[in-house]
Symmetry: C2
């Protein structure tokens, strides 16, 4: 197995992409070189422009090259609702639900073992954002349903409890289209404790 | 779902990679932007250098930025053996077998329906290469075990039959580690017709 240096360098660089191992990187590199040079050059340009140009939104801290992201710049959204998520990808997931309030993007979740305290993930900036905006009535904590995500949600809820704001947590339960027998016990327990009366 | 323009452009560009759809491209783009900007810039540089710098080997026509690829430049390889494959990726697959002869890389296989005749895939250049080198005794046809690959191998074998060269085809049969009951009938038929006496 001996690739020429430039091809080897390209394969190594492609492996920095998440989910791309040696074989996939080889296939990508040779495919681009054999069949789609213009696509490869376009990708190089897009990467350069994005890596140099994209920063963070001044208000919600999601990724954008502008001062404000499209969600924060949209004047028609509900200024009484704030949704707190762990990362930019979560914003796009929540957008699919039809939610049209505001966002705040943390830098991940609290993780004391990794040395990630409230400052590291941007909780002080979240509290500043809430205080400066002054219009939020409810803060929806949409961190991941993991131990760290739950801890992060609880930490923020405690900070908010003195400020007269409703702090809510997204519901945990059985996902649509699943089968009860395949759902783990913890999730099923959540779906029981979170049960609601059927309104006819 | 509204990404800012630079991020959208990056996601679209990432989708030119083989096997990368919308979701994977989003994950790749946001991961690079959030956690690995230097990796993204390195990838952009590697892409630019490879797309502009990599051409084809003068002798075997595989991908390389040099005049000769590492396989053709290696003086210690066997000049009596020539292995014909459909693409550069196949060279690296065949190298794993321990084969240490020479290579010739076609541009795919004969496909009359797609307008790909002998000229389009480089068969005239293969014949020129064989004539100019003058040392080959055997040409191993290692095109893919598909209908088109077989047709391509037969076409080349016919051209070679007048030139006093041995044209051989790689063996088809049951792959190692498989189970007979899972092998298709065509493959099993090949493994029967290609059976060999056991030498003790």
């Amino acid at each position: 197995m001996s690739f020429s240096p430039l091809i080897r360098q390209l394969i190594d660089a492609l492996r920095t992409l998440p989910g791309v191992g040696q074989k996939t990187a080889q296939r990508m590199a040779l495919q681009l070189l054999e069949r789609d040079r213009s696509g490869g050059s376009r990708l190089a340009l897009a990467l350069t422009q994005a890596m140099e140009g994209v920063g963070h939104c001044r208000l919600c801290r999601t990724l954008t090259e502008d001062d404000l992201c499209p969600q924060c710049a949209d004047m028609r959204r509900d200024d009484t609702l704030l949704c707190v998520v762990e990362g930019p990808m979560d914003v796009y997931a929540v957008e699919q639900t039809g939610y049209r309030g505001r966002y705040f993007v943390l830098k991940g979740h609290l993780s004391p073992l990794d040395g990630l305290g409230p400052e590291a993930i941007g909780i002080p900036q979240l509290m500043t954002r809430i205080a400066e905006q002054g219009t939020f009535a409810e803060v929806i904590l949409a961190t991941n349903p993991t131990v760290e995500g739950e801890a992060t949600a609880h930490y923020i809820a405690q900070l908010l409890s003195n400020k007269g704001l409703i702090a809510s947590r997204i519901a945990h339960g059985v996902p649509l289209g699943g089968e009860l027998e395949l759902v783990d016990g913890g999730t099923l327990a959540h779906s029981f404790s979170g049960r609601r009366p059927i309104t006819l």
